[in-house]
Amino acid sequence: MSFERTQEKLKILADAAKYDVSCSSSGSNRKNTNKGIGDATGMGICHSYTEDGRCVSLLKILLTNHCIFDCAYCVTRKSNDIKRAAFKVQEVVDLTINFYRRNYIEGLFLSSGIFKSADYTMERLVAVAKKLRLEENFNGYIHLKSIPGASDELMKEAGLYADRLSVNIEIPTKEGLKLLAPEKNREDFLKPMRKVQNEITQYQSEKKIIKSTPKYAPAGQSTQMIIGASGESDQQIMWTSNYFYKKFNLKRVYYSGYIPISYDHRLPQLGTDVPMLRENRLYQTDWLMRFYGFEVHEILNNDHQNLDLEVDPKLGWALRNLQHFPIDVNKADKLMLARIPGLGMKSVHKIIQARQFRKLNWEHLKRMGVALNRAKYFLVCDSRDFERRDLTGPQLKSIILQNSTSKYQKILSPQLNLFE
C-alpha cells in the first residue's frame, strides 16, 4: 500500500462521504467465534467526535466519487468540478483492518458514487465486505450502501456479509425529487429496500427452524433525508419517515440539514445556515414516535404542519392538549408518564421502580434528574404544592420560555444589527 496515494484518496473519499450522517454501530449480533478480529455484539461505540460534535464510529468512505448521475444536492454530482478518486478493493480492506486493530473504529461504512451501472458498483461494494469476512475473519460492523437500481441477486449477497444496509431516499417528496434529481425515480430507491426487507423476514422465519441459517443484515436497514433543500414541510418529512418505519420496518431514519454546496438556483444559496435546530426538532419527533408511544399525526397534522422551533415537540403537544394534565406520577402508567414534558424514558423507568417503595415528592423527582422547570406544570406528586393556576397553552409557553435558556438562543433571537 503506497502511503502517499492512499493518503490522497482517503482525503478525497472521506470528505465526499461525510454528508451521510448515519454512524450507528449497534444492533448487530455478530460474535467473534472464529478467534478472528472484531466483535459486533455489544452496544455501539463512538471512538471519537469531530469538531462539529458528530460521532466517529465507522470508517465512512466512498469507494469512488466518480458518478454518472447529476443530482443537484450532491457534492459528487457529475457536473461538479472536483477531484475524483477511486479505492481498490484491497485498499479499503487494509485500511479497515489496520484502523480496527488500533481501536480507531467499530467497522466500515462503505458507500459509493455510481460508476458504469448500479450493479457494477454494488458488486464492488459486496466484494469488499466479502473479502473482509471470508479472508480477514473480520467480525466488526459493516454498513453497505444499497445502490438504487441494484439487482435482487446482489442485494441478497450484500446482506450475507453486511450488518446494515441503507439506501438514502434523500428528498422527502416525489415532487422535490423530480426537481432536484430528474434522472432518478422513487422506485429505484424502493426496490433494493424491499428486497432486503423480504430477505430479513425470510431469514427470521428460517432461523426459527434451522439455527445455522447464515445471518442476513442483522442490524437491519436505515435511510436518510435531506432537510431544507426542497421546501418540504415538517409534516411531509415525518409522515414519509413514519411510512418507511411502518412499511419497510427500518431501524433508523436520519435527518440531515442541507449544507449549501452549490450555486444551483433550485437550492438554498451558499452561505445559508444549516438548519440545525430544525433537524434537532425532527430527531426529537422521531424519538417520540419510536420510544414514547406517540403517533406521528398527534404531533404533525394539517393544522400543525411545522414544528415549533421554540419548544420541543413533546412540550408543544402538551401545550395543545392541556386536558390530559396534570398527571399523577405516583399512579399514571408508563405511557402517560412518557407524555409529561421534561421526563425522559430513563426518568420514567426510575419513577416506576422507585414508587413501589414510597410515594414520590418533588425532592425525589429533582434528585432523579427530572427537568422540573418544564415538568412541574404538568404533574402532581406527593405534595400539596402544585400548579393551581388555570393557564392557557400560550401563557404556559411564555412562562416556561422565560424561565429557561435554550442552547439555541442565538438562532431563536438573532441580535439586531443596526447597520444592516
Binding site: 472521506a14 462521504a17 471519537s48 460534535g53 485500511l95 484502523f99 426510575k350 422507585a354 413501589q356 434528585r367
Partner: protein, 259 residues
Amino acid sequence: MRISEEHILVYDSTFDGFLTCVFEIYELKLKQVSFQRKNQTQESLFGISTEIITDLKKADRVWQGVKNKLSARGSLRLYYAFLSEQPQVESLLLTYIQQALKSTIPLDSDFGNETVLKVSQIAKSVGREKHRMEAFVRFKLTKDDIYFANIEPDFDVLPLISKHFKSRYADQKWIIYDLKRQYGLYYDLEKVDVINLTLPANFDPTQTTNEFFTPSEIEFQTLWQNYFQSTNIVARKNTKLHIQHVPKRYWNYLSEKKP
C-alpha cells in the same frame, strides 16, 4: 477492641479486602467505622486503627449474601461504585449493604432512597468511564508485535474492560496500561494477565517513536488524523459539543487530537 470508639479499618484497597472489612464489622458488631486504604495510611489522632487482612472466604460470604438480597444489576452497581475510588465511598457502600441485607425486597431500584440513588449515580459515572476507555484506547504496534495502549482513567476501570478487549482482539497480542495506577492487562493470544511494567526511562507515552514502534505505525496515525479532519463538516462546527463528548483530559492519548 472496644465497641464505643471509632474504628479505622485499614485494608489492602481491593474489593475482596473491602468485603472482608464488612464481614468483620458484622462479626465484631462494630458501630462506628471508617475505612482507610493501606497505601494511603495516615496517622489519626482519634479512633483505633485495625489492619484487616483480606480473606477470600469471608469476602465471598459477604458477596453471596449481598447477591441474594440484590438484583444482578444492584450487586454490579456496588462493584462499579467501589472502583470509583472516591474518598469514603466505602462508608456509603457499607450503608448500602446494611440496608440491602435488612430489606425484604431488593432495594436497588429504590431511587427515592438517597443511599441507593447515590450508589447508582457513582456506578453510572464509572460505567461511563469504562465505556470511554473502550472508545478512547488507541493501540500502537510495537516492534515486538504487541498492540500497546496507555491510559489514565479517572476510575479504576481496567478490570471492567478486560472481557471487551479480549473478545474483540482475539488474534493480536495487546497491552492496555494504566499509567496512573501502574498496572496493566496483557493478552498473549490465550488469556489476559495483570502485569506491572518498568517502562524505559526514555519512553514518552504521548509520543510514537521509531525506537519502540513499527515504521508503519506513524503512517497509520497520519492516515487516521487525515480521516478525522476530512470527515468533519466545517459549516456545522460545534466546539462545545465536541469537548463535551471528548473532554480535554483525554486528548493526550488520542492521536487524532495531536497537533
